[in-house]
């Protein structure tokens, strides 16, 4: 099991190297290699999680390393989907190191034995956890797109950094990608919250118990709701919305 995780990590790191080299040298082959490695890493990662599921009989998110691993898997998967949809190669420069970093932490954390397996056996919980994690992954990518937007905006505005100017795509594309990620993330988060409420009701007998995790999720949901509402009504976009998306995502990961 550990060797499989290490193999996955190695693939992600190589993929990161491929994307970084592509960013500096601008050779398409490097990007293709990076993508292929990422796919290989994602497959082996899927296998790791699948095995975990089979062994424990529930979704493997009962301790911190497992949770992190699942989050990394979600981000890798979300990026692959986004890549096929938008062909935004350059976002890999953000996504692959992100995933590699998350996975690098996994083997370092001592495993605390899981105590409450009974809680994890419900369908609602699996739906809840998966939706929440995929939603977070989408938000993480939105933050990445926002970050790239800010760099490109700065490059165009200050007229100095031709390095980034040449390598990054148009502001419009970065903005549209970030927006799409937030919409998807928001839908998934909503779904995750609903399934979570249903699950809480069925297990603890009440919908909401003011648990800090719940509160954080609620705040994040409200925040993204405001962000989307602002965009739809008065067209919030550009620097400010990119900053908000990035900041919000960072705070989520702290939570």
């Amino acid at each position: 099991m550990d060797t499989a995780i290490l193999a996955t990590l190695a693939l992600y790191m190589l993929s990161t190297a491929g994307y970084l080299a592509y960013f500096f040298l601008q050779k398409n082959r490097l990007q293709q290699a990076g993508l292929a490695l990422l796919m290989a890493g994602f497959l082996s990662h899927t296998a790791v999680i699948g095995i975990g599921f089979a062994q424990k009989g529930h979704i493997p998110v009962s301790n911190l390393p497992e949770t992190l691993s699942f989050a990394g898997w979600a981000v890798a998967g979300a990026f692959l989907v986004l890549h096929t949809r938008y062909n935004l190669k350059v976002l890999g420069v953000y996504a692959t190191p992100f995933v590699a970093l998350v996975m690098a932490i996994v083997p370092l954390i001592p495993k605390t034995p899981a105590e409450t397996p009974a809680v994890f056996k419900s369908f609602w919980l699996v739906a809840h956890v998966t939706a929440i994690f995929l939603g977070e992954a989408a938000f993480a990518l939105a933050a990445g797109a926002g970050l790239l937007y800010l760099i490109q905006d700065d490059a165009i505005r200050t007229k100095r950094s031709r390095f980034f100017f040449k390598r990054l795509p148009s502001l419009e594309l970065l903005d549209a990608t970030g927006y799409a990620c937030i919409v998807v993330g928001f839908c998934l988060l909503t779904l995750g919250l609903i399934t979570g409420l249903v699950y809480a009701k069925s297990y603890w007998g009440r919908f909401w118990s003011w648990d800090p995790k719940e509160v954080w999720s609620g705040i994040a949901w409200l925040f993204y709701a405001v962000l989307l509402h602002g965009r739809l009504t008065v067209g919030w976009r550009g620097r400010r919305s990119a900053i908000s998306a990035s900041v919000c995502c960072c705070s989520r990961f702290w939570g």
Binding site: Q152, I156, R157, K159, S170, L171, E172, G235, G238
Partner: protein, 421 residues
């Protein structure tokens, strides 16, 4: 062997006053190549003439005589004394001529590195010459290689990628902001060659409606008609900032025509869609402070010049890659050209036949009742056979008096027997 001779002048060796004296129009070029082809030493000929160069390509059995004849021809045709242009002429032969032509066609020798027109001009000249049948085996091959090399350099290097004029640089910037320019609205304030050129480039990218604002409304109307746009009054500029996405300004106004406050107040009405200001005027028309606002970008003439300089630097780097591709192509062409001589052709023809004979003898001995001692006799017989077969072709290819057609025959022989594998 028939040599390739290239003789010409270009922007580096001659000033425009001289180039325009020697330039050939398309019809003149046609008569010129035909006349040159009639010179006794010249077997094939091709001439291309652009505003930056006039070059004449010839295939000749006697290069010095051809060069002399060409010079006399240029002097006579253009009615200009020889001394006036002789110093500006350069002459390249064979390998160097091929290299020069490759570099010209790939636009590595152009005044503006990587400009795409020259290739089209050479193609057109070649089409004409081929139609007039003044080119033959050697120039046909050389020109086809040239087009191939030029295309390869264009696709494999970034020689033509980045904008190297102010107006194109403006379009390049706009595309980095908007992605696609389709449907984006353009507002032209004032008039001027560079600004109008930028609008034309933008129109080619399928931008949407165009507004033209001019102090004199009638002038604005004329311009608007040209761009199929709409003329607006100067006082309406602030109102139209709500609709326009790209603003190009080029007026003689002493102060700012668009202020920061005007742009800030339309942000909400625009739903924060980006605004791109291109300020070509000196003194500037657009308040540079606008560049600090969210979703608003201002580029003045110096900024655009900076972009252009940077891009020219990029093209020079890419040109080095182009030179490597050319080196490779020159070697390959030289090998082919040198093989197109009588002796190497006969040698390779003989080698090919000997190889066939040898393998057939081996097969015959292998599967039959012939005793192994008969091998030398068989070899002798095959040798004599090959000598007899090759006798007539050798005599024919070596004879004099078929100067003009020699490369054609040699090329045919090489193709018939597949000697270039």
């Amino acid at each position: 062997m028939h040599d390739i001779v290239l003789i010409g002048i270009n922007h580096k060796t001659a000033p425009v006053e001289l180039r325009e004296c020697i330039a050939f129009s398309a019809e003149e070029a046609e008569t010129a190549v035909a006349a040159l082809r009639r010179l006794p030493a010249v077997v094939e000929s091709l001439l291309y003439s652009t505003c930056n160069r006039v070059e004449l390509l010839m295939v000749s059995a006697d290069p010095p005589a051809s060069v002399e004849a060409a010079k006399a021809f240029i002097a006579e045709f253009n009615k200009i004394p020889r001394e006036q242009f002789e110093n500006a002429l350069y002459v390249h032969e064979n390998e160097n001529a091929a290299r020069h032509l490759f570099r010209v066609a790939a636009s590595l020798d152009s005044m503006i590195l990587g400009e795409p027109q020259i290739l089209g001009q050479i193609k057109e000249a070649y089409r004409q010459a081929a139609a007039a049948k003044t080119t033959g085996v050697i120039l046909n091959r050389l020109l086809h290689r040239t087009f191939f090399v030029a295309k390869r350099i264009r696709t494999e290097t970034g020689i033509g990628d980045r904008a190297v004029s102010i107006s194109y640089a403006a379009v390049e910037m706009a595309r980095k902001i908007f992605g696609t320019l389709e449907g984006k609205r353009v507002l032209l304030i004032g008039a001027g060659e560079m600004a109008e050129l930028a609008v034309e480039h933008l129109l080619r990218h399928a931008v949407g409606e165009t507004f033209v604002a001019n102090r004199t409304f009638e002038n604005g109307l004329t311009l608007a008609n040209r761009f199929r746009g709409r003329a607006i009054r100067f006082e309406e500029i602030a109102e139209h900032l709500k609709q326009a996405d790209i603003i190009i300004s080029s007026t003689g106004a002493p102060g700012f025509v668009v202020t920061r406050e005007q742009v800030r107040s339309v942000a909400r009405a625009r739903r924060n869609r980006p605004l791109f200001f291109i300020d070509i005027a000196v003194p500037r028309d657009i308040d540079p402070e606008i560049n600090r606002l969210d979703n608003a970008y201002v580029y003045d003439i110096d900024d655009l010049k900076g972009v252009v300089e940077e891009n020219i630097g990029d093209r020079q780097k890419e040109a080095l890659k182009g030179e490597r591709i050319i080196d490779e192509a020159v070697v390959r062409f030289r090998n082919w050209h040198q093989s197109l001589d009588v002796v190497p052709t006969i040698v390779s023809l003989r080698q090919k036949m000997e190889a066939i004979a040898e393998s057939e003898i081996r097969r015959t001995l292998h599967g039959s009742s012939l005793p192994p001692e008969s091998a030398p006799a068989l070899s002798r017989m095959m040798g004599a056979f090959i000598n007899k077969v090759l006798h007539e072709p050798t005599v024919f290819l070596k004879q004099d008096g078929m100067h003009a057609n020699k490369p054609t025959y040699l090329d045919a022989v090489r193709k018939l027997f597949k000697l270039d594998e």
